[in-house]
Symmetry: C2
Subunit: 339 residues, 2 copies
Amino acid sequence: MPEMRRDPITKNWVIIATERAKRPEKPTYKVDMQENEVPYEKNCFFCSENEYMTPPEVLAYRNYNSKPDSSGWTLRAVPNKFAALNLNQEFHIKQENSLQISSYATGTSEVIIESPHHSKCLSQLDLDQVADVLRAYRDRYIAISQENAVKYILLFRNHGAQAGTSITHPHSQIIATPVIPPKIAEEFTGANDYFESTGRCVYCDMIKMELKERSRIIYENDHFISFAPYASKTPFETWIMPKFHSAKYQDLNEEQILYLSEVWKTTLFKIYKGLENPPYNYFIHTSPTQKNTDRYYHWHVELIPKLTIAAGFELGTGMYINIAIPEDCAEYLREIAVK
Amino acid sequence: MPEMRRDPITKNWVIIATERAKRPEKPTYKVDMQENEVPYEKNCFFCSENEYMTPPEVLAYRNYNSKPDSSGWTLRAVPNKFAALNLNQEFHIKQENSLQISSYATGTSEVIIESPHHSKCLSQLDLDQVADVLRAYRDRYIAISQENAVKYILLFRNHGAQAGTSITHPHSQIIATPVIPPKIAEEFTGANDYFESTGRCVYCDMIKMELKERSRIIYENDHFISFAPYASKTPFETWIMPKFHSAKYQDLNEEQILYLSEVWKTTLFKIYKGLENPPYNYFIHTSPTQKNTDRYYHWHVELIPKLTIAAGFELGTGMYINIAIPEDCAEYLREIAVK
């Protein structure tokens, strides 16, 4: 039966259209799996030995006797060579008239090179290395949040060309903006409304519901959970969340990082194996840098495998037609064995 | 210089990032141009002679002596065989708890087969045929708006597999929803705010500005205009609008349809020729069926060529990084000669 479900935070409706799964020529993608591992590629900006190709590093986890911007690292963060925003000028609103309002694009953009290995993707790295990536997210978040001009920091990852990656070597990205972006503002409003009317965090309530119903859980340990949200917008949409209330990713402590990396790696591995290495995008939604959302917000990761195309209907309405049932997707991934 | 521009209606910021155009391996697509025209394909649902493959037609422009659901037509509208919504049950909100709110997916979905010809795309049709497509949009809009359950009707077109088309034969689509979708609601709010504070239609003011500045105009005639919006979200984003104030596409009269079809065909042809037949999505934003927006709203078409991929940043923030300058895009298309 075709069903609509309402997102409890944004209050937007999603159409769960199982009939559409029968459409002819449903587009499906795969990221080319490299049969043989390629540890090094001589023209790759991000490979070890090619450090001179990037701007100077802003963070590196490296051997105690190695030098900055040389080999001997396990993870590096560098400014994005093709940054869309920079901190050279202030964010200052210029109003030509009521229809033409502009500013210098103030902000920053960095790349986190997740490992020196050219072809090993995040789901294939050791747990230690995944934990390092999550530490680097936190460390760079904290460093960038010191900039006065920065109002929001998005940590995200594009996997595969169909998900918008232009460089093959596995990496994550950070973009810091001088405004709070609309999707973030929408979540803050929704979560705050819920808090005002119930006195509770909507995300904490979601976790309680998921742990009770269990049908949408993909994986969990004592402190973190991954699941298919009730109002999933796309097939295999996956969220990762702390079970404890926390508005800020950047507040994670060492013990929490270890628990989180286990859920993160396991979830990515299930997607890699179960969906045959699909392209995907994920991003972390956390508190903004200069606004206190501690009581009502709850940081989380949203991962969207690129299995379908957002076309005229989605672009024109902002509504989504999801051709898969979230409970089916969760069950499928839950049952994928982890090697 | 990297710049941010604020959309005057939604108030969302767009990053105009000319530096990003230098990124390595920028993905670009083309719709395969069929060297030889293919008038008929025996397995195509939408070709003439294959009428039995579709549900019974709800509209057809056909020879006076031809029968419904047989050949002899120039345009047909049929229910979507793979509809995500239907009118079998009412839209009735079921609240399991505050986090699980659902309904039957009430609505309708139709396909407008633009011509019997299998491979000729809209920009290649005669002006008469383009006018027929625009008439069919209006006629089906009016018919569907009689349904009580319908709150909004979106007319849209996906061109090319990368823009989400699953069937090659040129066609447009209609989806009617039982709620006003979020992007539509956002525009109504923005336009109403502008009207409340100025007493004027924001779209009328935009047209006045575009006609004065001229740098973003792509094409115009006495009654319609196509242009690159000031805060374009993607390269070559193109809007088509009536120069006269009108909230409702469905109010177009015969004379207006003729003027509109000239701007429509010319604009599509410039995109086809100038960008070498790129995949694209377009949709018509018009008034909802049961809410009066006459004073402050102004119907328009938004066309988005699929030249880049919305990736983690766009999905995570709802902000766009546009790697092309709108004025450059408009100039380029303006100068494309129409055969």
